[in-house]
């Protein structure tokens, strides 16, 4: 395993990391105060739940599917966390229940996609609308207040609470990164995404793997919703708007192929960091936030275009070497 093969194996991640580095250098030149520790801490805390959701999304996209209902799942889990906390459930039960609710919603998507063979983009589009409108109907837009003292930061206080949120997200990230590469079950996600039929012939139950990807995605969304909710003392009725796009964009910018079978959560981590940095960085540099969406769109396009062009270049070089 020489240095060259490390670079060629992680080319996509490295190129995203390089773009991120360029962005950071630009910000460092234009607005050095961006790197104040307090700001970096806030960035980490604010993007922790996005990272968890994006890690789950990476699994789903690796199997060649997509889940655009996560924003709505996130909203329902947030609201459920508020209701359950108010009813005075013990902390451990609360955490488990919210994660379970997320997993059940993920399982519904998994059932439709993996078992019934409905295209994931359509199935989760329908679920996105159903979950969101069901919550709106049930909650009528009301917020949950009067939560117990130990809800915010799980009663740990702000400093430890923030550490907990970030560490939890990093543990999820590390666990997924490790198991994707070191566990047989992790390799299944790649196998199914590369070629479901070949995977089936190799003895992998591809429906089961896809279904699991959705369940894990749902459970992680539940966890992310909870970790986001405990940062505040009130629970809103409309959380997670646009979260699905954020997560998908981070995964794609991170080099994961939308067609499945290729990508790493390390790339996703950099993608989350890149997209999470742009918004605040614009304010720091003094660019008007009107242009934020346009810049985000450009970055997504630039990421995929450069990816394809680089692949073409390297294939061409290989041809030349071969001939």
């Amino acid at each position: 395993m020489n240095r060259h093969s490390f670079i060629s194996r992680n080319k996509r991640e490295l190129s995203v990391a390089l773009s991120y580095l360029v962005l950071l250098v630009l910000v460092a030149l234009l607005a050095p105060t961006f790197f104040h520790p307090a700001n970096l801490r806030d960035l980490a805390v604010n993007n922790a739940s996005v990272l968890i959701v994006a890690c789950g999304m990476t699994l789903v996209i690796l199997t060649g599917e997509i889940d655009i209902s996560v924003g709505s799942q996130f909203a329902i889990c947030t609201y459920a966390a508020g209701l359950l906390a108010k009813s005075g459930l013990p902390l451990v039960v609360l955490i488990l229940t919210v994660v379970l609710i997320g997993a059940v919603m993920g399982a519904v998507g998994g059932l439709l996609v993996a078992r019934l063979g409905i295209p994931s983009i359509v199935a989760t589009l329908a679920l996105m609308v159903i979950w969101r409108d069901a919550l709106r109907w049930g909650s009528e837009g009301a917020w949950i207040q009067g939560l117990p003292q130990n809800f915010q930061w799980f009663g740990l206080g702000q400093t430890y609470g923030e550490v907990l949120v970030v560490v939890a997200a990093l543990i999820v990230f590390a666990a997924i990164a490790w198991s994707l590469h070191r566990l047989g079950a992790g390799r299944f996600f790649y196998a199914v995404g590369s070629d479901a039929e070949a995977a089936r012939l190799a003895g992998i139950d591809s429906q089961f793997v896809k279904h699991n990807a959705f369940v894990i995605m749902g459970a992680l969304t539940g966890l992310a919703a909870l970790l986001n909710a405990i940062r505040f003392s009130i629970v809103p009725g409309n959380a997670g708007i646009g979260l699905e796009l954020k997560a998908i964009a981070a995964v794609v910018v991170g080099g994961t192929a939308i067609t499945g079978g290729r990508g790493t959560v390390t790339g996703t981590l950099i993608g989350v960091a890149l997209l999470g940095t742009i918004g605040p960085a614009l304010t720091f540099v003094g660019i008007n936030s009107f242009w934020e969406k346009a810049i985000q769109g450009t970055i997504i396009l630039a990421a995929v275009v450069s990816d394809v062009l680089m692949t073409r270049l390297s294939t061409r070089r290989q041809y030349r070497l071969a001939n």
Binding site: R136, N238, N288, A294, L301
Partner: protein, 692 residues
């Protein structure tokens, strides 16, 4: 992936007529449509009328055009998420060329169509030439187009005042019956059907959807044809934008938000396979009407708007599942299901059907109870001062800007209280999110339904006024509350506070907190929110006029999201260390900003703004939120219903100077405005007295 294969290519020779007409079981939709019509003709008022039929088609034109353009895109196995954003971009470009560029309307429209082609060409280039996945490319252009639209207009610009002959395109009737834009839709349907089903080009699209590689070997110019498909989808988006602008009479950067999802839903509901190779124009049209009729019918049956979303999603899933099961059950044994061979046990199907059925029952049941409790509540206690002469109960239809917004939820409480006291039937419906197009649809439905009074909190002045005038022509009394329409489009305005009053009160409050000197930042709703932009205008005016030492350093968006307001405030606090006051002017933004200030430990920074007392109580008591400015929203809803009743009974007419409104007592009336009073400032001392 391409396992959802079309029926055998020699279908035409051997298949019976119903397979030829409905190759993808589109007849299911015909059944659904008939079923919907049957139910709604029983439950809805005036559902089965000629004018309602045309109204339904008018509302479906914009989405319909997008759905038609997306049909070939999806048949080739692609997708275009950028069409809604392209509408936004086209709308603002049309507006600015016409108003700021002084271009003639026809030339501006032409330029916009070219713009649509350019946007489509960008998608086509990246997808067909470079070979990127359509989902990702159009996800990128989805952000890009909307972003450019917001950047160009700085989110603020709202173009209106278009010439009448242009508005005729979106609001007029041909022969007093047929909505003008329907012609555009019908022509587009014919063209699209012709190209897709009757030309060689159309057949190549199916081939590409089946297998792009195979098509290339068969000599089909795959890249060129794909390019053409995305080009036409960009063009359709810009045509749709022109009609949208003519329909609503305004052009703003948020035009067409979410339309892409509705269009995709219609196409997929119509039997097109998202994997490509399957789909018909007939199916798309049926799918479109299945959705639109559902929404319209639910409105006429006074069901909540959220139910429409749930049922649309459910309908989509059920048709797909049925389709899948039917394919699986046989009849198409020739179809190569290969890797995707369905491994569904009967028990799983039973469980799924059970869950769906159960959910439907729960929804239906709870809804029935809800409707019953609303209808029967007031009936049991007959009002003493009911002014309705006959046994006809007055129907007052009241619309908020967005149903889920806590602000409007609290208005509803007061409205229901008043309706109960007066024995009035209160209909409360509106868009679930801010959506000017939806507001027009709801008013149209209420006109068809034939309510007595329509009271609207207006999101888009120019757009809704036409519809409101139509309501007045039909003898319906029209009120506006919270935000006004054009003056001749309504009888009275229930005015809680003018934008000027709000802007000035907020600025004065900021000056008081800061001691007339210092820097502050504004956290607004979205950058294109009309109300907030109006307030910011008056805030700036007040600053210039009275407080030269007070400085507004930045305006940041919260998108109506508490968490976004939180992170924006964190950034503002760091970038502008001299900011000593955050003024948040959207209800969810105040608690978000307050939490950010609190967590940053910046005790020198205060928060004020426009929000509801309840969600801010903890922060007001902590002293983070110094004060919030608002009127009593419950009273606003209460007063509106009282004014509606007085209007019907003739107690309120032009030239009156006061109105007696139940527990509120005498309320001042000036010209055609009923005034609730000045904005109220909630602070530590008084906030506990309010509960909304």
């Amino acid at each position: 992936m391409n396992s959802n294969t079309q029926l055998a290519p020699d279908l035409k020779l051997i298949a019976p007529w119903h397979l030829r007409a409905f190759p993808n079981r589109e007849w299911i939709l015909v059944v659904v449509l008939l079923f919907e019509c049957a139910i709604f003709s029983l439950s809805g008022d005036n559902f089965l009328t000629r004018s309602n039929a045309f109204e339904i088609t008018r509302l479906s034109v914009e989405v319909g055009l997008l759905a038609l353009a997306l049909t070939p895109v999806i048949i080739t196995g692609g997708i275009d998420l950028s069409v809604g954003s392209m509408m936004g971009l086209s709308a603002v470009v049309l507006g600015s060329l016409w108003r700021d560029g002084h271009w003639p309307m026809s030339l501006a429209i032409f330029a916009v169509l070219v713009l649509g082609l350019i946007g489509g060409a960008l998608n086509g280039l990246l997808i067909a030439r470079i070979g990127l996945p359509p989902l990702i490319v159009t996800l990128g252009t989805f952000s890009l187009f909307r972003g450019i639209a917001e950047g160009l207009t700085r989110g603020i610009e709202n173009y209106s005042g278009f010439p009448p002959n242009f508005l005729f395109l979106g609001q007029g009737y041909l022969g007093h019956l047929v909505p003008t834009q329907l012609v555009v839709l019908v022509v587009s349907i014919v063209i699209c059907a012709w190209y897709l089903h009757r030309t060689a080009f159309g057949r190549t699209l199916y081939a590409i959807g089946q297998s792009p590689e195979g098509s290339r070997y068969a000599g089909i110019p795959v890249g060129r044809n794909l390019f053409a498909v995305y080009l036409s989808s960009g063009l359709a988006a810009s045509i749709s934008a022109v009609i949208y602008v003519a329909h609503l009479g305004q052009a703003k950067s948020d035009a067409g938000t979410g339309f892409e999802l509705m269009a995709i839903t219609a196409v997929v509901l119509g039997g097109a396979s998202i994997f490509g190779g399957r789909g018909t124009v007939l199916g798309t049209v049926l799918g479109l009407f299945a959705i639109v009729v559902l929404q319209n019918g639910l409105r006429l049956s006074r069901q909540p708007a959220e139910l429409a979303g749930i049922l649309t999603g459910g309908l989509l899933l059920i048709t797909l599942v049925l389709n899948r099961l039917a394919t699986f059950a046989g009849g198409q044994s020739r179809v190569n299901t290969g890797a995707e061979e369905l491994d569904v046990r009967n028990s799983q199907v039973a469980v799924l059907s059970g869950v769906i059925l159960l959910a439907a029952l729960v929804v239906a049941g709870s809804n029935w109870l809800l409707v019953r409790s609303i209808q029967h509540g007031p009936q049991n206690e007959r009002p003493i001062n009911s002014s309705s002469k006959s046994n006809h109960r007055i129907q007052v239809a009241m619309m908020p800007k967005a149903k889920g917004d806590p602000y409007f939820v609290s208005c509803r409480l007061g409205a229901e209280e008043a309706a109960k006291e007066l024995g009035i039937d209160l209909l409360w419906d509106g868009p679930t999110d801010l959506d000017p197009a939806k507001q027009n649809e709801v008013v149209e439905a209420w006109i068809t339904k034939g309510v007595d009074v329509i009271a609207v909190s207006v999101e888009n002045q120019a757009g809704i006024s036409t519809v409101l005038r139509k309501a007045r022509e039909k003898g319906i009394k029209v009120l506006t509350w919270d935000a006004d329409a054009e003056r001749n489009a309504r009888d009275f305005l229930i005015n809680q506070a003018t934008p000027q009053g709000i802007g000035y009160t907020l600025t004065d409050e900021a000056a008081r907190i800061l001691g007339n000197k210092g820097e502050f930042a504004v956290i607004t709703a979205s950058l294109s929110a009309a109300n907030q932009n109006e307030w910011i205008k008056f805030i700036r005016a007040r600053l210039a006029e009275k407080y030269p030492d007070l400085k507004l350093v930045t305006v940041q968006p919260s998108e109506g999201d508490r968490d976004r307001a939180f992170s924006e405030t964190q950034t503002v606090l760091k970038v502008y260390p001299n900011v000593k006051l955050i003024m948040a002017i959207a209800a969810p933004a105040v608690p978000g900003a307050a939490e950010a200030v609190k967590q940053a430990g910046r005790t020198d920074v205060k928060v004020t703004g426009l929000s509801l007392p309840n969600m801010n109580k903890p922060y007001v008591k902590d002293g983070v939120v110094e004060s919030i400015v608002l009127w009593n929203t419950t009273d606003l809803g209460y007063l509106t219903v009282y004014a509606a009743q007085a209007l019907i009974s003739g107690q309120l007419k032009q030239g009156d100077h006061e109105l007696v409104a139940g527990r509120l007592g005498k309320i001042e009336v000036v010209d055609d405005e009923v005034r609730l009073g000045a904005p109220f400032i909630f602070n530590k001392e008084n906030i506990d007295r309010f509960d909304f």
